[in-house]
Symmetry: C2
Subunit: 137 residues, 2 copies
């Protein structure tokens, strides 16, 4: 089987957060409002998004390290080394960020959201609606 | 900025589900028990996983179409065409599956899980622990 495992960003994050040191560890820890800007090629995929929608945003954490398999959770050396798949560290073999956000405003193919702790310029890979039955069971 | 957007599977799904037509639309709709098998290179990342853990599994839906921007939800033509980012269709620009599962058993770097509707041989991209505060708020 020939697998095509090349990601194509569907858009980018616009945020006042400019680097990892500024960013909160999670989206509920003080992330500023941010915009998700879809690229013209994928904008049609966002045609039914509207204010109030709860979304799961997948991003490519482009400043992450991919060679980490054990990390100190939250970057705190007081936390014991832990297998990375038991943590939400951005440093992991495939540094895909998962963020739950709420759409606040829609401006054509730009979407203002709250709860997004990704830094400015982060590539966006996917947007999915939250499904309570499967995401919160 | 030179982006490395090439995914590297961390493992694969072993399941009795052999094709898309057999698979339920969501993991709470009758998915059989399945195994996540980490590759030797990434097994250390799973060293702290244990039975009872609730995980978010990211997969690469290798049989999906990447050129769909509008779909009929659940593949039902009675549902109106909808922007793909407002649906959980597997057919999307970056066909990354998101599955909430529970670990039932651990056998070294193999993990039996419930609630995984991905078909046999699906590449696994990432495992993340569920964080109630951010995933269910």
């Amino acid at each position: 089987m020939d697998l095509d495992l090349e990601l194509r960003p569907i858009g980018y994050v616009e945020s006042a957060l400019l680097d990892r040191d500024q960013a909160p560890k999670q989206g509920d820890e003080g992330a500023p409002p941010a915009w998700i800007v879809l690229s013209p090629e994928t904008a049609d995929g966002g045609s039914d998004l509207k204010p109030g929608d709860d979304l799961l945003v997948l991003t490519w954490l482009h400043q992450a390290r991919r060679d980490e398999l054990q990390v100190h959770p939250r970057g705190d050396l007081a936390n014991p080394l832990t297998g990375v798949f038991s943590t939400r560290s951005p440093d992991r073999p495939n540094p895909i960020g998962l963020h739950r956000v709420r759409v606040q405003a829609v401006d054509r193919f730009r979407f203002e959201v709250t709860g997004l702790e990704a830094i400015d310029g982060t590539p966006v890979l996917d947007l999915k609606p939250v499904l309570g039955a499967v995401d919160e069971r």
